[in-house]
């Protein structure tokens, strides 16, 4: 007989494996970084080599938010809303100096880093980062998903799977 917990764990592992090898990114591109994001998905650098080519512009269909560009205070509520609309589990890559910290715009209309309003998993430095830099950042996220465990030693997927089992009981 296969124990219930054994089955769930395996499925969670499978789910996690699928998640980290096939992000569906939502590019929240506002400025210069968005141009480098376009280069990253274009033929030369070709992000689809890693299984990340399903770029979705609807937050409901994506699990990776790539914030590429300066976020101003006027844009803040919009970004927050987009993040809230994404289904769990979800991850955020902050691409470029502006999204990470406001960059060299210490100014009256520029948010000093998107982590003022949403949680960030990976910060990619650069102004703008090269496509190699962005790819490296996303691959770091891939490792992070495998590595990240909560207090009970579960990954995000396992935690969710456990919660799901608990509900019908």
């Amino acid at each position: 007989m296969l124990g219930k917990s054994w089955m769930t764990t395996r499925f969670a592992k499978l789910e996690e494996w699928a998640q980290r090898n096939s992000f569906w990114p939502l590019p929240f591109g506002t400025a210069c970084c968005a141009i480098e994001f376009m280069s990253t998905v274009s033929s030369h650098y070709d992000m689809s080599r890693f299984g990340y080519e399903v770029v979705r512009f609807s937050p409901r269909q994506s699990d990776l938010l790539i914030v590429a560009g300066t976020i101003t205070d006027k844009m803040g509520p919009v970004l927050k809303r987009i993040y809230d609309q994404m289904p769990d589990p979800k991850w955020v890559v902050s691409m470029g100096a502006c999204a990470c910290s406001g960059g060299f715009y210490r100014a009256y209309h520029v948010m000093q880093g998107i982590d003022e309003i949403i949680p960030v998993d990976v910060y990619v430095p650069g102004c703008p980062p090269t496509p190699e830099g962005l790819l490296y950042g996303i691959l770091q996220l891939k490792e992070k998903i495998q590595r990240d465990r909560d207090a009970k030693g579960r990954t995000k997927s396992e935690e969710r799977a456990d919660d799901n089992v608990a509900v019908p009981a």
Binding site: F28, G29, T30, A31, C32, A34, I35, E36, M38, S39, S42, S43, H44, F57, G69, T70, T72, D73, K74, M75, G76, P77, V78, L79, K80, R81, I82, F104, Y105, R106, A107, Y108, H109, V110, C127, P128, T130
Partner: protein, 543 residues
């Protein structure tokens, strides 16, 4: 003085403007720019605290004129010039929110770039550059455009749709709210400012050299052109003569940047229309040009390749060879897109006659650049006021007359050909000998080995890093041909290491202010293609 300047009383401004536009001897048909300037210590009897500065241009006479209207702090009101030049609309809104100038008769004097929870006038000298205001979602502006003539029809319901700012066809930062009657847009409202990064305030808090990286991020699809435009302006104020090698390289790399910009514009317009293949085709030559820029300056996109007085670094030894190789690669890609698209029935149906505008109307709205040349007005700064090496090479200004999306696309394709032609001729001449930056220790950093080994050079190095270049007091407006049109820098110096005021004349700002006029009466799908065809770059539009 760089151009005639008239100080005008606000009482006569409107009449004077009308005469200047219509007079046979003046014919100032283009309002290039309007900005405010703040002099907090200027007494009332000298005019008061503010200046409103207008830059006018006459295309038929190739003449320029600057109008200054002094205004007091207690009553900073002046008449709106929208009845004379429609381009004044957004410029006046900007001057209102940045300085608090009041334009009487303006139909919609509302904040343009900053958000709804913002308080104060950020470009006034007493406003702290880092003072932020936080916007919450319930405070956000909700446009509700109403058609002028409402059609009473019980069969259909009118619908108001919001596009953007996070919408793929809105290029990330624009927002359009449209009221539809079926498929037809009956009224629309455009909201911008989602990428207002405070370029002008930042430039006032940095030294003259430190402004260069900020200029990169105006039109980030062709950063190098911005560098050149800014550095030329400051060089003119300093009276510095740039060495021939730097001028040569600036001309070549500006044209490469123009090719890149047009590739992005046409590539992404065609994606928006559903022709994805061309996006890949257009992006490949761009990748090669990035490689060239990276080999010169170490960065792909935001190159910061110019320095005041020359270039950042000497050109790599294989510069000519590498450029020639790219020159061989670009034409086949362009030819592929031409074959796929120029006679393509679907593309022609979607673009010919769509969002058309006449040359006369476009000028009144303040248009310049490829979009204006697609409407039959052949104004190009490189031809009308040649700079760098443009008057020494053989090239043409492509002008088409349709004024629609199709002709905007074709003008850009033709300009790519002309840029290739210019670059080829300059490469054939060979690289000029000599230094890449001016040999003047007050302007350019001394070479490292000198700074380390000679006392005098070390002091110059220290002074330049700590105090910056000292630019003599004065003001100057200097224009270059950006990828989108006339890119002007209006620079005021009070003497000293930092600019007193820098105003960019962003070419796509007046173009995008026309957007509602272009899309009203068309369908939603027309709107998408129109936006792509105008090549609005948010960094330059909102600065």
């Amino acid at each position: 003085m760089d151009q005639p300047t008239w100080v005008v009383d606000r009482e006569i401004l409107l009449d004077l403007a009308r005469d200047l536009r219509d007079g046979r001897e003046t014919r100032f048909d283009l309002l290039l720019d309007l900005c405010g300037v703040d002099y907090p210590d200027r007494p009332e009897e000298d005019g008061g605290r503010f200046d409103a500065v207008y830059h006018l241009y006459s295309i038929p006479r190739a003449e320029r004129l600057r109008l200054k209207v002094p205004l007091s702090e207690s009553d900073p009101a002046l008449p709106s010039l929208i009845p004379v030049w429609k381009a004044a609309n957004w410029f006046e809104r900007e001057a209102y929110e940045m300085f608090g100038l009041r334009f009487d008769g303006h139909p919609n004097l509302r904040r343009l770039l900053t958000h709804e929870a913002f308080k104060g006038y950020p470009l006034r000298k007493d406003y702290d550059a880092a003072r932020r205001w936080i916007l919450t979602e319930d405070q956000m502006y909700r446009p509700h455009p109403e058609p002028e003539e409402s059609v009473e029809d019980e069969m259909f319901e009118r619908m108001t749709i919001n596009f953007g700012p996070s919408h793929p066809a809105m290029h990330g930062t624009f927002r359009v709210v449209a009221t539809l009657d079926g498929e037809v847009i009956t009224a629309s409202e455009v909201e911008i400012g989602y990428l207002h990064r405070c370029f002008e305030k930042m430039s006032e808090t940095h030294t003259w050299q430190q402004v260069i990286p900020y200029t990169d991020r105006l039109n980030y699809c062709s950063s190098f052109i911005n560098n050149v435009a800014y550095c030329r302006t400051v060089e003119r104020m300093l009276g510095v003569e740039v060495p021939p090698k730097a001028v040569w390289a600036r001309t070549i790399l500006s044209e490469f940047s123009r090719i890149m910009d047009h590739c992005v514009c046409n590539g992404s317009t065609l994606v928006d229309a559903g022709a994805l293949t061309n996006f890949w085709y257009m992006f490949q030559p761009r990748e090669e040009i990035y490689g060239l820029l990276e080999s010169c300056f170490g960065a792909r996109l935001t190159v910061a390749g110019c320095r005041i007085g020359g270039l950042l670094a000497d050109l790599p030894p294989d510069f000519i060879e590498r450029s020639r190789r790219i020159m061989e690669m670009i034409p086949p890609f362009v030819a592929d897109v031409e074959r796929l698209i120029t006679k393509n029935r679907i593309w022609m149906d979607r673009s010919i006659g769509v969002s058309a505008i006449s040359g006369e109307e476009a000028v009144n709205w303040g248009w310049t650049g490829p979009c204006l040349r697609a409407s039959g007005v052949g104004y190009d700064v490189r031809r009308a006021h040649p700079y760098d090496l443009y008057d020494t090479v053989d090239w043409e200004v492509p002008v088409l007359s349709g004024g629609d999306i199709y002709d905007r696309y074709r003008v850009r394709m033709l300009e790519i050909e002309q840029s290739v032609r210019i670059i080829r001729q300059l490469l054939d001449r060979g690289m000029p000998e000599g230094p890449y930056i001016v040999d003047d220790p007050h302007v350019a950093l001394p070479p490292k080995e000198k700074a380390y080994n000679e006392m005098e050079s070390m002091i110059y190095h220290f002074k330049l890093i700590m105090d910056g270049i000292q630019v003599p007091a004065g003001e100057r407006y200097l224009m270059s041909e950006g990828a989108n049109g006339e890119l002007g820098f209006y620079v005021i110096s009070e003497g000293g290491g930092k600019p007193y005021r820098i105003k960019v004349r962003p070419p796509c700002f007046p173009i995008f202010s026309t957007f509602s006029r272009l899309i009203d009466g068309g369908s939603v799908s027309d709107m998408i293609v129109t936006l792509g065809g105008l090549n609005v770059i948010a960094g330059e539009l909102e600065r």
